[in-house]
């Protein structure tokens, strides 16, 4: 009897370790794409799953948005209507309030690309067999450094180097205090960018981790854990919402950060 219990516990422990290994493997980027347990594809040119997902999403966006934009009906319908809604919202509500009318209109296309690129990468990861490219820190860090690029070089180009440096010294602060404040401001700029990257990465990663963990319970406990399917479904639906939310937050924060550097007086 005791031997049987120990055996069951050991099997469960072993399955748990296996599930953990499975989850960790699927969370990490890999050059091998596992379509089914038996069908694997090794990516060419040293690409990884996330790289292919990202390139696929980019291609999909170019095709879909390009086709939708060709529709020149005076009354927009379908995808064109959705695109116009998002483009207008991003430009008028997220970009112009922080970058001003002139810069906002000029940079709105880049923020629209930010939003749709991140959104579609987030949503693509919810399709079975596909991966979430934004659950890869390299991808989110690269996107965040685009924001950093505009915060530094865009601001220098717009305001000049002196004004850019003065932006780190809040007005009205006594000069001795600047020795402490300026480094903090400089560091905070980089910390914001790191937070931007990690926020998107962690949110997308955690959602998938929870879904995999709930499904892993079925592997470990068998039919007893079937209710976990409902939990996984709930988390899956929540992930759809989180995909939109994170794309929105990343775009909005990028606009805010760049706007702060473009208009340091504000």
């Amino acid at each position: 009897m005791e031997t049987n219990v120990v055996q069951v516990v050991n099997v469960a422990q072993a399955k748990s370790d296996g599930v953990q290994a499975f989850i960790m493997h699927h969370m990490q980027d890999s050059p091998v794409w596992a379509w089914t347990p038996s069908i694997h594809t090794t990516m060419p040119f040293g690409l990884t799953i996330n790289a292919v997902m990202m390139l696929g999403v980019a291609l999909l966006l170019i095709v879909c948005l390009g086709l939708a934009a060709r529709n020149q009906d005076p009354v927009p319908t379908g995808l064109r209507n959705v695109l116009e809604f998002f483009a207008k919202y991003i430009r008028n509500e997220m970009v112009i309030p922080f970058l001003g009318e002139k810069d906002g209109r000029k940079m709105a296309p880049m923020f629209c690309t930010f939003f749709f690129f991140i959104l579609v990468m987030n949503l693509a990861g919810l399709i079975p067999c596909f991966n979430t490219a934004t659950a890869n820190l390299s991808v989110t860090a690269a996107l965040a450094t685009v924001t950093l690029f505009f915060m530094v070089f865009g601001a220098i180009h717009k305001t000049g180097f002196i004004a850019f440096c003065k932006g780190f010294a809040p007005p009205g602060i006594p000069k001795p205090m600047l020795l402490m404040i300026v480094p903090i401001e400089v560091i905070s700029m980089f910390i914001r960018i790191m937070a931007l990257a990690i926020r998107l990465f962690a949110n997308m990663l955690s959602g998938h981790l929870v879904i995999y963990s709930l499904l892993g319970m079925i592997v470990i406990f068998g039919f007893y854990a079937l209710p976990a399917l409902l939990g996984a479904l709930g988390i899956y639906l929540l992930e759809v919402f989180v995909s939109f939310l994170q794309a929105y937050i990343f775009t909005l924060l990028s606009a805010i950060f760049i706007g702060e550097r473009y208009h340091p007086a504000h």
Binding site: A14, Q28, T36, G66, M110
Partner: protein
């Protein structure tokens, strides 16, 4: 035995995932330079292409639509202001017309009263003249009648005196003659 079961379970689960566990994989927090570069390149190219094929035409149409809506609203506002001004102008015109008509009526009343007074005065004057003329006519007629009567009386008296003298009658007869003359005079 236990080791065999454990190994079998791990293998089953790992195979179900499509892979055996791989050692030495980078951690989740690892930042891969190739991936970063690829993301930059992809984002840059995607931004340029989407700007050309999607955002530029869409935002241009949005701007045009916004402009047309703003123009239409401006025109509507302008029309509303013009309509308001026209309404004020019309009200002023109506007010002026009412004042003018009231003035015309008042003037007409005054003019009518003056004309009536004038006509009445002329009528009174005419009546007075006619009356005076009538009186003068009556007086003249009366005078003529009086003259005629006197003449008739004189003629009668002379006639009577002639008859008296020629008839040579007594006093009773004279009285009777006078009475007859009186009766004759009283006859119309």
């Amino acid at each position: 035995m236990e080791d065999a079961v454990q190994t079998q379970a791990v293998t089953e689960v790992a195979v179900a995932g499509g892979h055996e566990q791989q050692g030495g994989q980078p951690g989740l927090m690892h930042v891969d330079g190739f991936m970063v570069g690829l993301t930059w390149t992809t984002f840059l190219l995607l931004s340029l292409v989407l700007y050309k094929v999607a955002w530029k035409p869409i935002l241009k149409v949005l701007d045009q639509r916004e402009k047309s809506i703003r123009d239409a609203l401006d025109q509507a506002e302008k029309a509303r202001v013009e309509a308001g001004a026209a309404e004020i102008r019309n009200r002023q015109l109506i007010l002026a017309a009412e004042q003018e008509s009231r003035k015309l009526v008042a003037d007409a009343k005054i003019s009518a009263q003056e004309t009536a007074a004038l006509i009445r005065n002329q009528a009174e004057q005419n009546a007075r003249l006619l009356l005076q003329e009538a009186r003068r006519d009556i007086e003249a007629a009366t005078e003529q009648a009086r003259i005629a009567l006197r003449q008739e009386t004189t003629d009668l008296a002379i006639s009577l005196a002639g008859k008296v003298i020629s008839a040579n009658m007594d006093s009773d007869r004279n009285r009777a003659l006078v009475n007859d003359l009186e009766k004759e005079l009283k006859r119309p």
